[in-house]
Protein backbone atom coordinates (compact mmCIF):
# COMPACT_ATOMS: atom_id res chain seq x y z
CA UNK A 1 0.00 0.00 0.00
CA UNK A 2 1.26 3.48 -0.83
CA UNK A 3 0.16 6.92 0.26
CA UNK A 4 -2.78 8.37 -1.55
CA UNK A 5 -3.07 12.08 -2.16
CA UNK A 6 -5.61 12.29 0.63
CA UNK A 7 -3.06 11.01 3.04
CA UNK A 8 -0.36 13.45 2.13
CA UNK A 9 -0.32 16.38 4.45
CA UNK A 10 2.29 18.94 3.65
CA UNK A 11 4.37 20.50 6.33
CA UNK A 12 2.78 23.88 5.76
CA UNK A 13 -0.60 22.50 6.80
CA UNK A 14 0.56 21.45 10.24
CA UNK A 15 0.07 23.76 13.14
CA UNK A 16 3.62 24.34 14.43
CA UNK A 17 2.48 23.33 17.89
CA UNK A 18 1.70 19.86 16.53
CA UNK A 19 4.69 19.60 14.23
CA UNK A 20 6.86 17.56 16.55
CA UNK A 21 4.17 15.92 18.65
CA UNK A 22 4.28 12.56 16.84
CA UNK A 23 8.06 12.57 16.89
CA UNK A 24 7.88 13.29 20.62
CA UNK A 25 5.65 10.34 21.50
CA UNK A 26 7.68 8.07 19.22
CA UNK A 27 10.91 9.22 20.89
CA UNK A 28 12.26 10.42 17.55
CA UNK A 29 13.09 14.07 18.19
CA UNK A 30 16.66 15.09 17.50
CA UNK A 31 17.25 17.66 20.21
CA UNK A 32 16.37 18.23 23.84
CA UNK A 33 15.17 21.72 22.93
CA UNK A 34 12.53 20.19 20.68
CA UNK A 35 11.32 17.99 23.51
CA UNK A 36 11.14 20.95 25.88
CA UNK A 37 9.17 22.92 23.33
CA UNK A 38 6.66 20.09 22.85
CA UNK A 39 6.25 19.63 26.59
CA UNK A 40 5.65 23.34 26.92
CA UNK A 41 2.92 23.19 24.29
CA UNK A 42 1.31 20.16 25.96
CA UNK A 43 1.20 22.02 29.23
CA UNK A 44 -0.15 25.25 27.77
CA UNK A 45 -2.64 24.14 25.13
CA UNK A 46 -5.49 21.71 25.85
CA UNK A 47 -5.86 20.76 22.20
CA UNK A 48 -2.20 19.82 22.03
CA UNK A 49 -2.56 17.85 25.24
CA UNK A 50 -5.57 16.02 23.86
CA UNK A 51 -3.72 14.97 20.74
CA UNK A 52 -0.72 14.05 22.82
CA UNK A 53 -2.86 11.68 24.88
CA UNK A 54 -4.35 10.13 21.74
CA UNK A 55 -1.00 9.60 20.11
CA UNK A 56 0.51 8.28 23.35
CA UNK A 57 -2.21 5.68 23.72
CA UNK A 58 -1.59 4.61 20.15
CA UNK A 59 2.07 4.23 20.88
CA UNK A 60 1.11 2.17 23.95
CA UNK A 61 -0.66 -0.17 21.59
CA UNK A 62 2.48 -0.44 19.51
CA UNK A 63 4.22 -1.65 22.65
CA UNK A 64 1.45 -4.10 23.42
CA UNK A 65 1.40 -5.39 19.91
CA UNK A 66 4.89 -6.82 19.73
CA UNK A 67 5.35 -10.57 19.30
CA UNK A 68 4.75 -12.26 22.64
CA UNK A 69 7.92 -13.46 24.36
CA UNK A 70 7.98 -14.49 27.99
CA UNK A 71 10.88 -13.43 30.16
CA UNK A 72 12.85 -16.09 32.02
CA UNK A 73 11.66 -16.92 35.53
CA UNK A 74 14.85 -15.68 37.15
CA UNK A 75 14.22 -12.16 35.92
CA UNK A 76 11.40 -11.61 38.38
CA UNK A 77 13.51 -13.13 41.13
CA UNK A 78 16.36 -10.76 40.29
CA UNK A 79 14.11 -7.72 40.30
CA UNK A 80 12.51 -8.64 43.60
CA UNK A 81 15.93 -9.25 45.14
CA UNK A 82 17.12 -5.83 43.96
CA UNK A 83 13.99 -4.23 45.36
CA UNK A 84 14.56 -6.02 48.66
CA UNK A 85 18.13 -4.76 48.81
CA UNK A 86 17.06 -1.20 48.12
CA UNK A 87 14.32 -1.46 50.76
CA UNK A 88 16.74 -2.52 53.47
CA UNK A 89 20.19 -1.16 52.75
CA UNK A 90 22.01 -3.59 54.97
CA UNK A 91 25.72 -3.31 55.42
CA UNK A 92 26.28 -6.57 53.63
CA UNK A 93 24.29 -5.53 50.60
CA UNK A 94 25.94 -2.14 50.36
CA UNK A 95 29.37 -3.62 50.71
CA UNK A 96 28.67 -6.30 48.14
CA UNK A 97 27.12 -3.96 45.61
CA UNK A 98 28.99 -0.76 46.35
CA UNK A 99 30.41 -0.72 42.87
CA UNK A 100 27.65 -2.21 40.72
CA UNK A 101 24.59 -0.80 42.34
CA UNK A 102 25.66 2.82 42.61
CA UNK A 103 23.80 3.75 39.48
CA UNK A 104 20.64 2.16 40.83
CA UNK A 105 20.49 4.42 43.86
CA UNK A 106 18.71 7.68 44.17
CA UNK A 107 20.58 10.96 44.12
CA UNK A 108 20.35 11.54 47.83
CA UNK A 109 21.59 8.01 48.52
CA UNK A 110 24.53 8.57 46.23
CA UNK A 111 25.30 11.84 47.93
CA UNK A 112 25.87 10.03 51.22
CA UNK A 113 28.87 8.07 50.10
CA UNK A 114 31.44 9.93 52.14
CA UNK A 115 31.67 10.84 55.76
CA UNK A 116 31.68 14.49 54.78
CA UNK A 117 28.50 14.00 52.83
CA UNK A 118 26.92 12.32 55.83
CA UNK A 119 27.92 15.17 58.06
CA UNK A 120 26.67 17.71 55.56
CA UNK A 121 23.41 15.83 55.15
CA UNK A 122 22.97 15.63 58.89
CA UNK A 123 23.40 19.39 59.15
CA UNK A 124 20.97 19.94 56.31
CA UNK A 125 18.53 17.56 57.93
CA UNK A 126 18.44 19.52 61.16
CA UNK A 127 17.85 22.77 59.31
CA UNK A 128 15.18 21.41 57.04
CA UNK A 129 13.36 19.56 59.79
CA UNK A 130 13.23 22.76 61.79
CA UNK A 131 11.67 24.57 58.86
CA UNK A 132 9.38 21.68 58.01
CA UNK A 133 7.66 21.75 61.37
CA UNK A 134 5.95 24.93 60.35
CA UNK A 135 4.49 23.44 57.23
CA UNK A 136 2.91 20.44 58.95
CA UNK A 137 3.22 18.58 55.69
CA UNK A 138 2.70 14.86 56.14
CA UNK A 139 4.40 13.90 52.91
CA UNK A 140 7.40 16.00 53.75
CA UNK A 141 7.48 14.47 57.20
CA UNK A 142 7.46 10.99 55.72
CA UNK A 143 10.27 11.95 53.42
CA UNK A 144 12.25 13.28 56.34
CA UNK A 145 11.65 10.10 58.29
CA UNK A 146 12.81 8.02 55.39
CA UNK A 147 15.78 10.30 54.98
CA UNK A 148 16.64 9.98 58.65
CA UNK A 149 16.41 6.19 58.54
CA UNK A 150 18.56 6.07 55.46
CA UNK A 151 20.99 8.52 57.00
CA UNK A 152 21.42 6.30 60.03
CA UNK A 153 21.88 3.27 57.83
CA UNK A 154 24.36 5.11 55.66
CA UNK A 155 26.27 6.35 58.68
CA UNK A 156 26.57 2.81 59.93
CA UNK A 157 27.73 1.67 56.55
CA UNK A 158 30.30 4.47 56.36
CA UNK A 159 31.59 3.59 59.82
CA UNK A 160 31.86 -0.05 58.87
CA UNK A 161 33.54 0.81 55.60
CA UNK A 162 36.07 2.90 57.49
CA UNK A 163 36.67 0.05 59.89
CA UNK A 164 37.05 -2.39 57.01
CA UNK A 165 39.41 -0.01 55.26
CA UNK A 166 41.49 0.41 58.39
CA UNK A 167 41.70 -3.35 58.87
CA UNK A 168 42.56 -3.85 55.23
CA UNK A 169 45.31 -1.24 55.43
CA UNK A 170 46.76 -2.87 58.54
CA UNK A 171 46.66 -6.25 56.86
CA UNK A 172 48.36 -4.78 53.83
CA UNK A 173 51.12 -3.23 55.94
CA UNK A 174 51.69 -6.53 57.70
CA UNK A 175 51.84 -8.32 54.40
CA UNK A 176 54.29 -5.78 52.98
CA UNK A 177 56.54 -6.17 56.03
CA UNK A 178 56.39 -9.94 55.73
CA UNK A 179 57.21 -9.77 52.02
CA UNK A 180 60.16 -7.49 52.73
CA UNK A 181 61.47 -9.95 55.30
CA UNK A 182 61.09 -12.80 52.85
CA UNK A 183 62.89 -10.77 50.21
CA UNK A 184 65.79 -10.15 52.62
CA UNK A 185 66.05 -13.87 53.29
CA UNK A 186 65.97 -14.54 49.58
CA UNK A 187 68.68 -11.96 48.98
CA UNK A 188 70.85 -13.59 51.67
CA UNK A 189 70.25 -16.99 50.18
CA UNK A 190 71.01 -15.65 46.77
CA UNK A 191 74.24 -14.10 48.05
CA UNK A 192 75.24 -17.36 49.70
CA UNK A 193 74.44 -19.24 46.57
CA UNK A 194 76.51 -16.80 44.55
CA UNK A 195 79.44 -17.28 46.90
CA UNK A 196 79.07 -21.04 46.60
CA UNK A 197 79.08 -20.80 42.85
CA UNK A 198 82.18 -18.60 42.86
CA UNK A 199 83.89 -21.00 45.25
CA UNK A 200 82.96 -23.98 43.12
CA UNK A 201 84.27 -22.19 40.05
CA UNK A 202 87.55 -21.57 41.88
CA UNK A 203 87.73 -25.21 42.90
CA UNK A 204 87.08 -26.29 39.35
CA UNK A 205 89.80 -23.93 38.14
CA UNK A 206 92.24 -25.27 40.70
CA UNK A 207 91.33 -28.83 39.81
CA UNK A 208 91.94 -28.04 36.16
CA UNK A 209 95.40 -26.68 37.02
CA UNK A 210 96.12 -29.67 39.21
CA UNK A 211 94.94 -31.97 36.49
CA UNK A 212 97.32 -30.40 34.01
CA UNK A 213 100.19 -30.62 36.51
CA UNK A 214 99.42 -34.25 37.20
CA UNK A 215 99.45 -34.92 33.50
CA UNK A 216 102.86 -33.26 33.29
CA UNK A 217 104.11 -35.23 36.29
CA UNK A 218 102.84 -38.40 34.75
CA UNK A 219 104.66 -37.60 31.54
CA UNK A 220 107.81 -36.90 33.60
CA UNK A 221 107.40 -40.14 35.47
CA UNK A 222 106.91 -42.06 32.29
CA UNK A 223 110.00 -40.39 30.83
CA UNK A 224 112.01 -41.21 33.95
CA UNK A 225 110.86 -44.80 33.91
CA UNK A 226 111.74 -44.98 30.25
CA UNK A 227 115.22 -43.58 30.58
CA UNK A 228 116.02 -45.65 33.63
CA UNK A 229 114.84 -48.89 32.08
CA UNK A 230 115.75 -48.42 28.45
CA UNK A 231 118.70 -46.10 28.50
CA UNK A 232 120.79 -47.80 31.18
CA UNK A 233 119.95 -45.57 34.15
CA UNK A 234 119.52 -46.82 37.64
CA UNK A 235 118.39 -45.06 40.75
CA UNK A 236 121.51 -44.48 42.72
CA UNK A 237 120.22 -42.38 45.52
CA UNK A 238 116.90 -41.73 47.15
CA UNK A 239 116.55 -38.43 48.82
CA UNK A 240 114.64 -38.86 52.00
CA UNK A 241 111.84 -36.68 53.23
CA UNK A 242 113.71 -33.75 54.71
CA UNK A 243 111.10 -32.05 56.74
CA UNK A 244 113.34 -32.08 59.75
CA UNK A 245 116.06 -30.25 57.88
CA UNK A 246 113.88 -27.55 56.52
CA UNK A 247 113.25 -24.59 58.76
CA UNK A 248 112.14 -21.87 56.42
CA UNK A 249 109.29 -23.74 54.78
CA UNK A 250 106.66 -26.18 55.79
CA UNK A 251 106.87 -28.02 52.50
CA UNK A 252 107.72 -31.66 52.94
CA UNK A 253 109.66 -31.82 49.71
CA UNK A 254 111.45 -34.92 48.56
CA UNK A 255 113.27 -36.13 45.48
CA UNK A 256 115.56 -38.65 43.85
CA UNK A 257 118.53 -38.81 41.53
CA UNK A 258 118.90 -41.40 38.79
CA UNK A 259 122.40 -41.81 37.33
CA UNK A 260 123.32 -43.60 34.13
CA UNK A 261 125.42 -46.71 34.69
CA UNK A 262 127.77 -45.87 31.85
CA UNK A 263 128.46 -42.19 31.33
CA UNK A 264 127.77 -39.11 33.42
CA UNK A 265 124.16 -38.24 32.58
CA UNK A 266 121.77 -37.99 35.53
CA UNK A 267 118.14 -37.12 36.19
CA UNK A 268 116.84 -35.31 39.27
CA UNK A 269 113.19 -35.36 40.19
CA UNK A 270 111.61 -33.49 43.08
CA UNK A 271 108.08 -33.25 44.50
CA UNK A 272 106.33 -31.13 47.07
CA UNK A 273 108.08 -27.90 46.24
CA UNK A 274 106.33 -24.51 46.54
CA UNK A 275 106.44 -22.09 43.68
CA UNK A 276 109.71 -20.10 44.02
CA UNK A 277 109.50 -16.38 44.77
CA UNK A 278 109.36 -13.98 41.86
CA UNK A 279 112.83 -13.71 40.29
CA UNK A 280 114.01 -16.89 42.01
CA UNK A 281 114.43 -20.51 40.90
CA UNK A 282 115.47 -23.71 42.61
CA UNK A 283 119.13 -24.74 42.44
CA UNK A 284 120.40 -28.32 42.83
CA UNK A 285 123.70 -28.55 44.73
CA UNK A 286 126.05 -31.54 45.11
CA UNK A 287 128.31 -31.45 48.13
CA UNK A 288 131.55 -33.45 48.56
CA UNK A 289 134.51 -32.55 50.62
CA UNK A 290 134.75 -29.06 49.19
CA UNK A 291 132.20 -26.33 48.91
CA UNK A 292 128.71 -27.04 47.38
CA UNK A 293 128.69 -27.37 43.59
CA UNK A 294 125.67 -26.05 41.68
CA UNK A 295 124.65 -28.40 38.87
CA UNK A 296 121.26 -27.19 37.64
CA UNK A 297 118.62 -24.50 38.14
CA UNK A 298 114.95 -25.28 37.61
CA UNK A 299 111.38 -24.24 38.17
CA UNK A 300 108.44 -26.37 39.28
CA UNK A 301 105.12 -27.32 37.86
CA UNK A 302 101.77 -26.15 39.27
CA UNK A 303 101.74 -29.07 41.70
CA UNK A 304 105.33 -28.45 42.87
CA UNK A 305 107.19 -31.15 40.94
CA UNK A 306 110.20 -30.92 38.68
CA UNK A 307 112.28 -33.30 36.57
CA UNK A 308 115.60 -32.19 35.14
CA UNK A 309 118.51 -33.85 33.40
CA UNK A 310 122.08 -32.78 34.15
CA UNK A 311 125.68 -33.88 33.76
CA UNK A 312 127.33 -35.32 36.84
CA UNK A 313 130.69 -33.51 37.31
CA UNK A 314 132.04 -36.68 38.93
CA UNK A 315 130.67 -40.07 39.94
CA UNK A 316 128.00 -39.85 42.55
CA UNK A 317 130.08 -41.55 45.22
CA UNK A 318 132.28 -38.46 45.34
CA UNK A 319 129.38 -36.50 46.82
CA UNK A 320 128.15 -36.96 50.35
CA UNK A 321 125.02 -34.95 50.18
CA UNK A 322 122.55 -33.19 47.89
CA UNK A 323 120.51 -30.08 48.56
CA UNK A 324 118.06 -27.75 46.81
CA UNK A 325 117.88 -24.03 47.57
CA UNK A 326 116.08 -21.04 46.17
CA UNK A 327 118.46 -18.75 44.33
CA UNK A 328 118.16 -15.77 42.02
CA UNK A 329 117.50 -16.65 38.39
CA UNK A 330 120.64 -14.90 37.15
CA UNK A 331 122.72 -18.02 36.54
CA UNK A 332 124.32 -20.35 39.00
CA UNK A 333 126.17 -18.67 41.83
CA UNK A 334 129.20 -20.09 43.52
CA UNK A 335 127.69 -20.42 46.99
CA UNK A 336 124.16 -21.16 48.18
CA UNK A 337 122.59 -18.12 49.79
CA UNK A 338 118.87 -18.75 49.55
CA UNK A 339 116.46 -20.83 51.53
CA UNK A 340 117.20 -24.57 51.59
CA UNK A 341 114.18 -26.70 50.79
CA UNK A 342 115.69 -30.20 50.33
CA UNK A 343 118.72 -31.75 51.96
CA UNK A 344 119.74 -35.41 52.00
CA UNK A 345 122.71 -37.60 52.54
CA UNK A 346 123.64 -39.83 49.63
CA UNK A 347 123.88 -43.52 50.26
Amino acid sequence: MTESKDNIETNENIDPRFENLAGYVLGALDHAEQRSSVENHIEKFPDVQAEFEELSETVDLLALGVPPVSPPDHLKTNIMELARQESTPSQLQLLATAHGAMSRRSWWQRSFQSGYAVAAAAAALVIVVGGGMGYQNDQLSNDFNNLRVDLIAESTVVANLRSELSTTMMDSETKVASMKSEMDVMEDEFGATTEMVVHQEEVVSELAVANNALKQALRDQIWLTYVTSKEGYQVESWLADNTQQVTATKTAAYGLIAVRVVGNEAVFQAHGLDQPQSGFAYTLWLMGNGKPLPVAQFGVSEIGSATIAFIMPAPLQFYSSVMVTQERVNGLGSDPSGTMVIFAETN
Binding site: E3, N7, E54
Partner: protein
Protein backbone atom coordinates in the same frame (compact mmCIF):
# COMPACT_ATOMS: atom_id res chain seq x y z
CA UNK B 1 -5.74 -11.80 58.94
CA UNK B 2 -6.95 -11.60 55.36
CA UNK B 3 -4.24 -11.66 52.80
CA UNK B 4 -4.48 -8.79 50.36
CA UNK B 5 -5.24 -9.79 46.80
CA UNK B 6 -2.71 -7.75 44.91
CA UNK B 7 -3.78 -9.11 41.57
CA UNK B 8 -7.17 -7.51 42.07
CA UNK B 9 -5.73 -4.02 42.69
CA UNK B 10 -5.68 -1.30 40.05
CA UNK B 11 -2.38 -0.06 38.70
CA UNK B 12 -2.58 3.14 40.72
CA UNK B 13 -3.31 1.23 43.91
CA UNK B 14 -0.29 -0.92 43.31
CA UNK B 15 1.79 2.20 42.68
CA UNK B 16 0.62 3.68 45.97
CA UNK B 17 1.78 0.54 47.76
CA UNK B 18 5.06 0.68 45.91
CA UNK B 19 5.42 4.16 47.35
CA UNK B 20 5.14 2.47 50.76
CA UNK B 21 7.96 0.09 49.70
CA UNK B 22 5.59 -2.85 49.35
CA UNK B 23 7.46 -5.37 47.26
CA UNK B 24 4.43 -7.56 46.69
CA UNK B 25 2.88 -4.64 44.83
CA UNK B 26 5.94 -4.53 42.59
CA UNK B 27 5.67 -8.27 42.04
CA UNK B 28 2.02 -7.87 41.05
CA UNK B 29 2.86 -5.07 38.66
CA UNK B 30 5.63 -7.17 37.16
CA UNK B 31 3.23 -10.07 36.71
CA UNK B 32 0.89 -7.72 34.93
CA UNK B 33 3.35 -5.95 32.61
CA UNK B 34 6.73 -7.69 32.82
CA UNK B 35 6.10 -9.92 29.84
CA UNK B 36 5.06 -6.98 27.69
CA UNK B 37 8.02 -4.85 28.68
CA UNK B 38 10.35 -7.75 28.04
CA UNK B 39 8.70 -8.51 24.69
CA UNK B 40 9.03 -4.87 23.64
CA UNK B 41 12.72 -4.92 24.51
CA UNK B 42 13.23 -8.17 22.62
CA UNK B 43 11.36 -6.73 19.64
CA UNK B 44 13.70 -3.75 19.53
CA UNK B 45 16.97 -5.31 20.60
CA UNK B 46 16.55 -8.86 19.29
CA UNK B 47 18.63 -9.84 22.30
CA UNK B 48 17.01 -11.71 25.20
CA UNK B 49 19.94 -11.12 27.54
CA UNK B 50 20.06 -7.39 26.89
CA UNK B 51 16.27 -7.33 27.15
CA UNK B 52 16.46 -8.86 30.62
CA UNK B 53 18.70 -6.01 31.73
CA UNK B 54 16.37 -3.45 30.23
CA UNK B 55 13.31 -5.02 31.86
CA UNK B 56 15.08 -5.13 35.19
CA UNK B 57 16.01 -1.45 34.89
CA UNK B 58 12.46 -0.52 33.96
CA UNK B 59 10.89 -2.18 36.98
CA UNK B 60 13.57 -0.85 39.28
CA UNK B 61 12.68 2.60 37.93
CA UNK B 62 9.08 1.89 38.84
CA UNK B 63 10.21 0.76 42.28
CA UNK B 64 12.18 3.97 42.82
CA UNK B 65 9.93 6.45 41.04
CA UNK B 66 6.51 4.85 41.45
CA UNK B 67 5.65 7.18 44.31
CA UNK B 68 6.30 10.18 42.09
CA UNK B 69 3.90 9.06 39.37
CA UNK B 70 0.82 11.24 38.95
CA UNK B 71 -1.98 11.20 36.48
CA UNK B 72 -0.51 14.37 35.02
CA UNK B 73 2.02 12.08 33.39
CA UNK B 74 -0.76 10.30 31.49
CA UNK B 75 -2.00 6.78 31.84
CA UNK B 76 0.17 4.47 33.87
CA UNK B 77 0.77 2.19 30.89
CA UNK B 78 1.82 5.23 28.86
CA UNK B 79 4.28 6.15 31.57
CA UNK B 80 5.53 2.57 31.97
CA UNK B 81 6.00 1.89 28.27
CA UNK B 82 7.56 5.28 27.81
CA UNK B 83 10.17 4.33 30.38
CA UNK B 84 10.59 0.92 28.76
CA UNK B 85 10.84 2.33 25.26
CA UNK B 86 13.27 5.09 26.21
CA UNK B 87 15.49 2.67 28.10
CA UNK B 88 15.48 0.18 25.24
CA UNK B 89 16.16 2.80 22.60
CA UNK B 90 19.02 4.15 24.70
CA UNK B 91 20.49 0.65 24.74
CA UNK B 92 19.89 0.26 21.01
CA UNK B 93 21.57 3.57 20.20
CA UNK B 94 24.47 2.68 22.43
CA UNK B 95 24.89 -0.55 20.53
CA UNK B 96 24.52 1.24 17.25
CA UNK B 97 27.33 3.53 18.25
CA UNK B 98 29.34 0.36 18.78
CA UNK B 99 28.31 -0.57 15.26
CA UNK B 100 27.16 -3.97 16.46
CA UNK B 101 23.90 -3.82 14.62
CA UNK B 102 24.76 -1.76 11.56
CA UNK B 103 23.59 -4.23 8.97
CA UNK B 104 20.55 -5.72 10.64
CA UNK B 105 17.63 -5.76 8.25
CA UNK B 106 14.47 -4.07 9.40
CA UNK B 107 12.38 -7.12 8.66
CA UNK B 108 14.48 -9.20 11.05
CA UNK B 109 12.71 -7.44 13.86
CA UNK B 110 9.34 -8.42 12.59
CA UNK B 111 9.97 -12.14 12.58
CA UNK B 112 10.83 -12.93 16.16
CA UNK B 113 9.40 -16.29 17.15
CA UNK B 114 7.00 -16.47 20.04
CA UNK B 115 8.53 -18.56 22.79
CA UNK B 116 7.72 -19.84 26.21
CA UNK B 117 4.35 -18.20 26.62
CA UNK B 118 1.55 -19.74 28.62
CA UNK B 119 -1.43 -20.76 26.50
CA UNK B 120 -3.74 -18.16 28.05
CA UNK B 121 -1.17 -15.42 27.75
CA UNK B 122 -0.40 -16.56 24.28
CA UNK B 123 -3.99 -16.18 23.20
CA UNK B 124 -4.25 -12.67 24.63
CA UNK B 125 -0.83 -11.65 23.44
CA UNK B 126 -1.34 -13.13 20.02
CA UNK B 127 -4.65 -11.35 19.76
CA UNK B 128 -3.10 -8.00 20.62
CA UNK B 129 -0.21 -8.67 18.37
CA UNK B 130 -2.43 -9.68 15.50
CA UNK B 131 -4.54 -6.54 15.87
CA UNK B 132 -1.58 -4.20 15.88
CA UNK B 133 0.11 -6.17 13.17
CA UNK B 134 -3.02 -5.99 11.05
CA UNK B 135 -3.39 -2.27 11.66
CA UNK B 136 0.27 -1.76 10.74
CA UNK B 137 -0.17 -3.78 7.56
CA UNK B 138 -2.95 -1.49 6.47
CA UNK B 139 -0.76 1.56 6.67
CA UNK B 140 0.86 2.88 3.51
CA UNK B 141 4.39 1.51 3.24
CA UNK B 142 5.96 4.93 3.75
CA UNK B 143 4.02 5.53 6.95
CA UNK B 144 4.68 2.04 8.21
CA UNK B 145 8.36 2.60 7.62
CA UNK B 146 8.55 5.79 9.65
CA UNK B 147 6.89 4.00 12.58
CA UNK B 148 9.24 1.07 12.24
CA UNK B 149 12.32 3.23 11.89
CA UNK B 150 11.45 5.57 14.73
CA UNK B 151 9.75 3.41 17.36
CA UNK B 152 11.42 0.08 16.77
CA UNK B 153 14.75 1.16 15.28
CA UNK B 154 15.35 4.25 17.38
CA UNK B 155 16.09 6.60 14.49
CA UNK B 156 15.35 10.30 14.90
CA UNK B 157 13.29 12.29 12.44
CA UNK B 158 16.42 13.69 10.80
CA UNK B 159 18.00 10.26 10.57
CA UNK B 160 14.87 8.85 8.95
CA UNK B 161 14.84 11.72 6.46
CA UNK B 162 18.44 10.98 5.58
CA UNK B 163 17.86 7.25 5.36
CA UNK B 164 14.74 7.45 3.21
CA UNK B 165 15.81 10.48 1.19
CA UNK B 166 12.60 12.29 2.11
CA UNK B 167 12.29 15.89 3.32
CA UNK B 168 12.21 16.25 7.09
CA UNK B 169 8.77 17.84 6.96
CA UNK B 170 7.41 14.84 5.07
CA UNK B 171 8.80 12.51 7.70
CA UNK B 172 7.11 14.47 10.46
CA UNK B 173 3.84 14.46 8.59
CA UNK B 174 3.98 10.73 7.94
CA UNK B 175 4.62 10.05 11.60
CA UNK B 176 1.57 11.96 12.66
CA UNK B 177 -0.62 10.46 9.99
CA UNK B 178 0.56 6.96 10.74
CA UNK B 179 -0.25 7.25 14.43
CA UNK B 180 -3.66 8.73 13.73
CA UNK B 181 -4.48 5.98 11.25
CA UNK B 182 -3.31 3.33 13.64
CA UNK B 183 -5.49 4.78 16.37
CA UNK B 184 -8.49 4.75 14.15
CA UNK B 185 -7.84 1.23 12.97
CA UNK B 186 -7.23 -0.15 16.43
CA UNK B 187 -10.14 1.73 17.94
CA UNK B 188 -12.40 0.26 15.32
CA UNK B 189 -11.21 -3.25 16.23
CA UNK B 190 -10.91 -3.03 19.97
CA UNK B 191 -13.40 -0.40 20.93
CA UNK B 192 -12.20 0.90 24.22
CA UNK B 193 -8.89 -0.86 24.01
CA UNK B 194 -6.29 0.47 26.40
Amino acid sequence: MNRLNYQGLEDLELLAKIGDRDREALAALYDRYGRRVFALAVRILSDPVGSEEVTQDVFMSVWRRGATYTLNKGKFTTWLFSIAHNRTIDELRKRRRDRSRENTDIDDHLNIESTDVSPADAVVAQSEYDKVRSAMEHLPVEQKNVIELSYFRGLTQTEIATKTGQPLGTVKTRMRLALKKLRMALSAETGAQA
